[in-house]
Structures are given as C-alpha cells and as structure tokens.
Amino acid sequence: MDVLSIAQTAKVDTGDTAWMLAATALVLLMTPALGLFYAGLVRAKNSLNTFMMSISAIAIAGVMWALVGYSLAFDGTGDLIGGLHNVAMHDITNAPRDGTTIPHLVFFAFQATFCIITTALVSGAIVERMRFGAWMVFAALWSVLVYSVMAHWAFGGGWLIERGTLDFAGGVPVEMGSGFSALAAALVIGARKDYGRQALLPHNAIYVLVGAGLLWFGWFGFNGGSGFNTGANSTLAFTNTLLTPACSLITWFVLDLIRGRQVTAIGAATAIIVGCVLITPAGGFVSPGWAMALGFAGALPCYAMIVFRPRTRVDETLDVLAAHGIAGFTGILFIGFFAQQNWNGISDGWVYGNIDQLGDQALAALAAPLYAFGATYVLLRLLALVMPLRVSEHEEALGMDTVQHGEEAYPTGEGAILVTPEAGIDEPVPVAQPG
C-alpha cells in the first residue's frame, strides 16, 4: 500500500523481506484451510468437490495472476485499471517494489495469495451443485475481471486509494469483493434441489473448527503482512488480528446463548472468520481498544444476516455474504469513524475530528458491493450462455464427489475391485465379484 510507505527507498530491507516471505506462506495456507472449513460445512458426498474448489483456485487464480491479473492490479496508476507492463511476470525482479522495502518478486507472491484466497472464498456460494469445469472457467475470469480490478482500486493506485480511502488488507477487493460476488453467484446458479425442503447439515464440525483455526493462523500473515514491512502499522494489524476475533467470539457466544441457550461450535468457527474479516480493512489504522470494540459490535450485523439468510430462498450456501461481505463492509465503515492518526500515522476518523475520512470510506462501501455484485452477475449470465453451470438433479442427488471427481472422501474399499494393479503386483488378488 503506497500511502503507508514512509519514505521511498531503493533498498531491500532484510528484516522486512524475511517477514514478508513468511507472511506469504501463511496466507497461502489459508486457502487449503478454507477448503477444510468449507468441506466440513457440506454433506459428506460433496466434501471433496468443495475442498477441490479451493485447491483449484490456487492453480487457476495463481496462474491468471502471473499472466495478467497482477499487472492489471498493480501496474500504473490508472483510475479504474492498471497497465500491462507486468504481464506474464515481465520486469518483476529482486529489485524493490516501488514504495516498499521488499523485492518486487516477494510483493508479487504475497499479492498472489490474496487473489487465490479471494477466488476460493466465492466458491462457498455455489457448492454442492456447480459443475467443476464451469467453476474453473469462472474462477479464471473472475480473478481478473473482478478481483484484479478491485485490488487496483484499493491497493494498486486506483481511484479509491488515490482519494484516500483506507483499506489495510482488503476490505474492498477481498471481503466485499468475495461476499457480494457470492450473492450474485448464488442468484445466477440457483438453489440446491433440496434447499428449503430437507435439512442439509454440515458433515464434520471438527473440520470446520480446524479450518477456522488455520484460517485465523494464516490471517496473521494476511493482516500483519499488509504493511509490507515490520513497522508500526504491521505490528498493530498483527496484534489487532488476535484481539478482534476473540471479541467477536464473545459476542457470538452471547447471541447463541440468547437465541438457543447453548453456545455452538460451528457458530464459534463462524465468529472467528467474522472477526478476522472485520479487522482486515481496519487492522493497521485503529487502536487495539477500538479493534476490540469492532470485534464486539461488528459481529452483530453478521450474526443477523446469518440468521436471516436461510429464511430466504437465496441458497448462498456457506454464507460468504454474511461472513465476508457484511463484515468487510462494517470494517471499512468503522475506519471512517475510529481511525486514529497517532496510531496509524495517516489519518483520523470522524470521532477524532476528520469527517472527510468517513466520506471516503462510505464511497468504498458503496462502490465495492455494486461492482462485485454487478460484474459477477453479468459474468455468470454470459458464461451460462456457453456452458451448463450446474450438474443435473440426478447427479446432484448422487453427490459431486463421485460424479465430478470419481473419488469419495470416505471410501471403504468394500466391494471395490482392482482394475489397474499397483506397481509390483503382477496378479491381482482374487476378489469375489458380485453379480
């Protein structure tokens, strides 16, 4: 983020680079963690397919990012979109990236992991029914047409960052980008055939909790690395990443107790994600005290959305809108009120006397949902003209794992007959063949 750099240095700092290398690896871990989180939330027969949507995002969004996405997001200072200078990794070297003290290569890799996790996030809206092939085509186009554009607006020198909108680690491109795209995707793809008729329950709550825990762990790199150094904003964001989700958890516990008289585990996992998302845009800009307030209060609209959404006909299956869209929106606006210059060195919010900051934040909170929703809606409608987006009802009933991947998450091997023996075994062991 250019505004954060205190001085333009032409020198690579070893400490900053060491941290950013580690942070990049931390953020990459978030995508398999998300796969685990999502896989636990779906039925067993769709769990591999759900996990694979996240894994495929690493491949597809990663390659698209290297080919064209990075350049469109981070080359140049066009208002709406970047340039083509860095297409296909051109001129991305060990020289420091402008405005940072880390090699351009590291900056590229760190930003790539953001594009990957954001693309994977959108899959939560359409699991258990979208064709895997159609998902991969969608992911390739979405990562460029939606993510790269919004990343340019908020990080890469586009109109939002130019007018002073503060977004530390991606409230605009990552959280609102994925959340409101998820709503559009759910509307275009349509509900699962049994949605609203049968109970469609998470098949493994432990996966959900482990996934949420690993996401939180990775989020220290996500937020802590978004200053691109080991300076004050970065350490502030790092510590806030501990505080805010802890506070969201408390709010969630209390709301669960009021609503159902019991604290739920899947609710807790959701609260961790919501807390991490809330502090994503605000991490390096608000004091630890306000970060805790954000965790306590910001969880409320997300909880409300999670209670409300399943009562509608919109099968936005894993509530990406509530956990990412609404939380990102809340976090972005929160900066406008409670940013503190003596913590962030850049700008105050309304509470500290600068109402203009709230205006800039509100603009982002308006533009990001509109663009994400609109662009994703049009993209999927166009894609539907050239390929079927979802599997047949019969295949949906059988489950995506066997239909799309020819594998099961929990195969027993009972009744399975070897077709190709493993290396070294010449004759297959005779097996009673039924029928």
Binding site: H394, A397, P411, G415, L418, G435
Partner: protein, 117 residues
Amino acid sequence: MKLVIGIVRPEKMNDVLEALYRAEVRGVSVSQVQGHGGELDRVETYRGTTVKVGLSDKVRFEIAVSDGFVQTTIDALCEGGRTGEVGDGKIFVVPLERAVRIRTGETDQSAVTPVGA
C-alpha cells in the same frame, strides 16, 4: 401381518420417509446397507489405483404392518423411491410369524399398530 422390506437409494431416503408419513405408515426401521443389483459399476481412481466399485450404498427400510396396510406401504415406498433409473431398489414382502411390543407385551396385530392410531 407382513414385514415389508424396501431397499432404496440413499438420496431418496427423505422422500420415502415423507411418503410413508403421508400414508400414515409409522413404525419404521432404517439401516445403511451396501449391495449389488443391476447398476453399472462405478469406476474410481485414487492416485495410480483404479477400482471398480461393485457395491452401491442403499438404505433398507423394514416396516412391519397388518395385512390391510401392505399395499399402502408398497405404494409409498415406490412413490418416494422411484427415479426411473436402474438402481431404484426392490421391495420384498415376507410373512411375519409373531410380533411383540416390548413395553406392554402386546402381540401381533396390536403390536404393529402404532400407538395412538
């Protein structure tokens, strides 16, 4: 008094249960079973190992009913379980020698009549 055994697709289990409730057939045992019928074998690959999975997952309903309820039960199983594709399953009706309700010691007809019916 008959024991109606219905073997259906697992993904149709909820539809079958719904059809049974609508037909006011209560008192059902359900178990997960695997079996082989006329369905094509499914091929799965795990790294280098390709296998033909000859057994398909099915759900087995066991319903003890008085003679007058046999056809109703069969109709409900068919209605809830049918997709029209090979692999929808089978229904077997077998005579039932005795039935005892453990709680009351009631036997036969009154043992298979649901409480409150």
